[in-house]
């Protein structure tokens, strides 16, 4: 009733090919972005913005990255954390030694460094597939993190090994360091998330995205059409790692204010993988939904027992959290491999008829 596709005719291929070809979807997304940019900073408090929305947005970017690699190009990676770390450490180096470049450039250079690392560790993907690749990305995970923790150059020879991010400005507003306001950091991160989200959507529907999906679905046929597996796979690795690198840098700059190896360990890699599976493999929207779900679930679990009068120790809750994550992964793979994104779609289909089902 309220959500309709019918009557929304397109008279040109341009209209049919646009990102949100259904009018209502378009209004909804534009409204959502406007809400996020204008209303949320006004009504959100520090906890909501600083502890929920910023991590959700940053991890969404990482999930987008992994989704490009795993969901679109079909290459499994367990090294997401390492590529995030690469972005964070290199952005830190730029921010401290070439401070005049400014925060966005530092973060983008971090992303580019991660892209370089991604290509390097993606090279084996030309000869191997599937789980074999998972093992080589584990090599990236352990080797790169070791590198950052054992080579002092990356942390400017800081004694603690966990240096703080310098305060940096963007158009005169502090967006990093302890002094920066939550609102400024939130908007900065949101800007990255919107731009990178749109770019990912565009890439996915153009030549490059089709190349990735072709390699994912049937690599031999793709080759015979003229898609170069080398180019398709390495571009997926590069772009995916770029996203992860940017996310890692944002995590350090706008969330934890330090560059800390613990934030990028193997558990982070799994966390992002779970976001992608639960959110939906091969879906841009799913990356955001998955990130939100995985960040919010523990918070829900911490509070829910009290609402119903149960008093569980934090130990039990953290164990339950792990179990629930595991069970959800299996559940989604069995029931809905396209994840929350697909559930959203089904909900829309239902909404079409609501409240008059026939």
């Amino acid at each position: 009733m309220f959500y309709r596709e019918a009557g929304d005719f397109k008279t040109s291929y341009a209209a049919d090919q646009s990102i949100l070809s259904i009018k209502l979807d378009r209004y909804f997304v534009i409204g959502l972005i406007a809400f996020g940019v204008i209303v949320v900073p006004m009504i959100g408090n520090d906890y909501w913005l600083g502890s929920l929305l910023i991590p959700v947005l940053v991890l969404s970017i990482a999930a987008l990255g992994l989704n490009i690699l795993t969901g679109y190009a079909g290459q499994l990676s367990l090294g997401t954390g390492a590529f995030m770390a690469t972005g964070a450490y290199m952005a830190y180096k730029v921010a401290t030694n070439l401070a005049f470049l400014g925060a966005p450039v530092a973060i983008i250079i971090g992303g580019l460094s991660a892209a370089f690392a991604g290509v390097l560790f993606g090279l084996p993907s030309l000869r191997i597939k599937g789980f074999y690749l998972a093992v080589t990305t584990l090599a990236a995970q352990f080797f790169l993190l070791w590198l950052f923790t054992h080579v002092d150059w990356f942390v400017n020879y800081s004694i603690s090994g966990v240096p703080s991010i310098p305060p940096m400005e963007f158009f005169g507003v502090l967006i990093s360091g302890a002094e920066a306001t939550t609102e400024a950091r939130y908007l900065f991160v949101l800007g990255f998330a919107i731009i990178l989200g749109l770019a990912a959507r565009n890439l996915a529907r153009c030549k490059m995205g089709r190349g990735w999906m072709a390699i994912r679905d049937m690599d031999i046929a793709a080759e015979i059409i003229g898609i170069d597996p080398l180019k398709a796979k390495l571009s997926a690795f590069a772009i995916s790692s770029f996203y992860c690198g940017v996310a890692g840098a944002l995590w350090a700059f706008c969330f934890i204010n330090t560059v800390e190896p613990g934030a990028y360990d193997i558990n982070r890699s799994f966390q992002i993988l779970f976001m992608v599976i639960i959110g939906g493999l091969g879906s841009i929207l799913g990356s955001f939904l998955g990130a939100a779900f995985i960040v919010l679930l523990p918070i829900f679990l911490n509070n829910a027992p009290q609402w119903i009068g149960l008093n569980l120790t934090s130990d039990v809750i953290s164990h339950m959290e792990i179990m629930i994550f595991g069970a959800l992964i299996v559940f989604f793979l069995i029931v809905e491999p396209h994840g929350l994104a697909r559930l959203w779609q089904i909900a829309k289909e239902k909404l079409r008829r609501w409240p008059f089902p026939y």
């Binding site: 090919q17 072709a214 015979i224 059409i225």
Partner: protein
């Protein structure tokens, strides 16, 4: 020029394979195979199971590298032929076991056929501006023509994994056509189809050949279809060439009859 070149649509030699030997480990798949394909003709490769027909196609588009012999295409020697090279120089193919991109829609599958014709840069694609947008729309138009031609408008946005077998075969043909190939290799385009579907497919093959002037090499088991469609037929058996010529010549060839019906040695 061979004697079958009486028809005006058939031109000079487009592709030739010369003295091809192919073996896997110690097993010989093809022995000293030579034949040519002329511009504009429909050329069939037939033979019993295991005769080396699919291997022959794989050699032509570079998936297998023959140990001996070479492939000439458009007057140029392609040794070694590679799949990417074949695609670039204008050879498209379909597969015996459908090789579509199952997670993608029909439209996207066919659009991948235009991959080599798109040249927009990464930045243009990420921002969907300039060439990227222009190309998407231009090629969409071309692809829609093919969709019309093969009458698959209704399934444009359906993921191909959900389509029935016959339609999948058609989408695969559409994808190959989207490459606007000069030579189209069809590996058993009618395998597993019922009579009606076979008739449809035969019609499409003839239409492709006549309207677009595409040269076609096909492998097929249905002798009726082969004899009706083909200008010339080459017969393989146990990796050797048994006969080569017009459908009439081939069907009256004693070796061919023996190979198909069996003969006491």
């Amino acid at each position: 020029m061979t004697e079958t070149n009486t028809n005006s649509r058939i031109g000079e030699e487009l592709l030739s394979v010369n003295n091809i030997d192919l073996s896997f480990g110690g097993v010989k798949a093809l022995t000293d195979i030579s034949f040519n394909i002329n511009k504009g003709e429909i050329r069939s490769i037939i033979g019993p199971n295991g005769a080396g027909k699919s291997s022959m196609l794989n050699v032509i588009n570079g998936f297998y590298q023959p140990q001996v012999g070479h492939v000439r295409f458009k007057g140029k020697d392609y040794t070694p032929m590679r799949p990417a090279l074949a695609a670039k120089s204008g050879i498209a193919r379909t597969f015996q076991n459908i090789a579509l991109f199952k997670g993608m829609s029909t439209l996207d599958n066919i659009m991948t056929g235009r991959y080599l014709k798109m040249h927009s840069s990464f930045i243009e694609q990420a921002l969907y501006i300039g060439r990227a947008k222009r190309e998407e729309l231009e090629h969409r138009e071309k692809v829609e023509e093919i969709i019309d031609f093969l009458e698959i408008e209704a399934i444009r946005k359906t993921p191909v994994g959900r389509l029935p077998y016959g339609l999948q075969k058609r989408v695969e043909l559409a994808r190959a056509l989207a490459m606007e190939p000069e030579l189209l290799l069809l590996d058993e385009p009618m395998a597993g189809m019922n009579l009606e579907e076979k008739e449809d497919m035969s019609r499409y093959i003839i239409d492709v050949n006549e309207q677009f002037g595409t040269t076609i090499a096909l492998i097929e088991h249905d002798m009726g279809v082969v004899m009706d469609l083909s200008d010339r037929v080459v017969v393989l058996d146990y990796g050797r060439k048994l006969a080569d010529g017009s459908p009439d010549e081939v069907s009256s060839n004693q070796d061919v009859i023996d190979a198909y019906l069996g003969v006491s040695h």
